[in-house]
Subunit: 309 residues, 2 copies
């Protein structure tokens, strides 16, 4: 069995050495843009070049080094007749959950005021929040969205969830489909986006959506930058519809130095760090699936190309 | 039935009006330092004057407007022959839990770096943490400590708990008694204090304790200021044993303007806000217990005077 690694990492041996250890039965190759075909059975990729799929014609499956496969789907000649497998969790849902809780509490309890007070040497107690004033809505109820929603519900916030398909979650009011989107938004003050990026969800955080939220709305985007129409957010902040946004992802990353977001006190910027791939967990998962697939066993995480996730 | 309210609030009607609504069968009085005895059956108090217990000789129970009764126990003539009842939760455990999680994540994921980066317009990704590098230890496994421990464990941190008596909590390694205190500390990098303040716990966060923690230790104190020997903390920071402290409570509150804590980048100061009494929940609980007690029913939250909590 031959495994080809192609992730544009300047130190690919950080990946290929452990892959070889985890799959001693395999020959492991690092992608060489100027090389010859290796006739790989499996490719482990992050934003691979088209040349890879031109050269490697015997692939039995492609493994993506992330949960979101929107980048991979942009590769025009990605094969459609073999399984494309996305990363499932691998330590990401817990990271994203604690990031979102941190941001939610930072905003709802106005922790910046206490940081400013400390800097000024000021002791002043502010009124505690009432949880009923901070209803939360989670967009996307995949593995990550579910964990986010459950964890916030366990902190006694009112939590709604919205997804394309039906879900049932203890303690979370779930809405399904575009017909129920407005009902979901009307329940929501803190809108948390964990959706996958597809043609159906691109630009879903727009002026229309933001206007339907409860007053003094908060947007926490840990999905993709292309979910958010950035000018619409700025306008909704200027209109007073949105009180604060915490953004981890952007239309263009790194966020350009002259982007208006940087200077806004109402926007918290983190540089796409809400959940990073954990190499150990990731490689254990992917190599386990490669072995299973090579033995004819079923594997999970295969992308439904018709849905794009 | 007569109920006397004494909490030093400049607007006592915020309390006495709802008490009267919740207990229509009672006569409700606000404490008047210059008044006559009202022969109250029940007193609802926060840091009451000794004069109250001199004047009111028919009390059947005293209800404290907080979970910690260390302040009440300082009142020399607090009656010892009637139930002294502390507040149980009333919205406090969830507030304290989210505060502690916020502080833990703020420190473990070094969110201050991202705030500084945003101020400087800098996009830079830092390596994600490994959860095994951040073992957490929760001191005190009462209602609050248990919830804190469980919530942090649900975020996949390794969590230990320590208390005077034996506890069993799913996903949390529990240590009991002074004999096991050192074993608990040796497991712990992030030490979270939720203990009640008693003669046995005063000053428990001292040089000896801090020195037994794992390297680059973190202290989160949401208990009482008197749990912490403040000079010992400063020295442990200077020694490099403690990397960061998040303190919500202090030996002297408000924290004096010239206190060295204010200027320390390694110390996060919040002004005793990790959990505030929620008036609605509090009064519902206390008036419910007054009615139950007046009808001869058992009530929970009665303080064990021999333990001090």
């Amino acid at each position: 069995m031959k495994v080809l690694f192609a992730a544009g990492d300047p130190k690919p041996e950080r990946w290929t050495v452990p892959i070889q250890q985890l799959l001693p039965e395999a020959e492991v190759f690092n992608w060489d843009p100027n090389g010859e075909p290796v006739n790989a059975d499996y490719a482990i990729v992050w934003q691979p070049p088209e040349a890879l799929f031109e050269r490697e014609r015997q692939l039995k499956a492609v493994f993506n080094l992330g949960a979101g496969i929107d980048g991979l789907l942009k590769v025009a000649n990605l094969p459609r007749d073999i399984p494309v497998v996305r990363l499932e969790d691998a330590g990401m849902s817990v990271q994203m959950t604690e990031h979102v809780i941190h941001q939610l509490v930072d905003i709802s309890r106005n922790m910046q005021v206490y940081r400013d007070q400390q800097a000024a040497g000021t002791w002043k107690i502010h009124r505690p929040i009432r949880r009923k004033d901070w209803p939360v809505g989670v967009m996307g109820l995949g593995h990550i969205g579910k964990r986010v929603a459950r964890s916030i519900a366990s902190l006694d916030y009112q939590v709604s969830g919205w997804a394309r398909s039906e879900h049932h979650l203890d303690g979370v009011t779930c809405y399904a489909g575009t017909d129920r989107f407005d009902d979901f938004l009307a329940q929501t003050r803190v809108l948390i986006n964990t959706l996958p990026l597809t043609d159906a969800t691109r630009g879903i955080l727009n002026a229309d959506t933001l206007a339907k939220l409860r007053p003094d709305a908060v947007v926490i985007n840990v999905g993709r930058g292309e979910h958010l129409v950035e000018d619409d957010l700025l306008q909704a902040i200027d209109n007073g519809q949105v009180a604060h946004a915490s953004l981890d992802v952007f239309q263009s990353e790194p966020l350009p130095a002259d982007h208006p977001f940087w200077q806004r006190a109402e926007i918290t910027i983190t540089p796409h760090v809400s959940a990073r791939t954990q190499r150990d967990d990731t490689l254990e998962q992917i190599t386990g699936k490669i072995r299973a697939h090579s033995q004819g066993q079923p594997i999970t995480g295969v992308v439904d190309m018709s849905q794009g996730y």
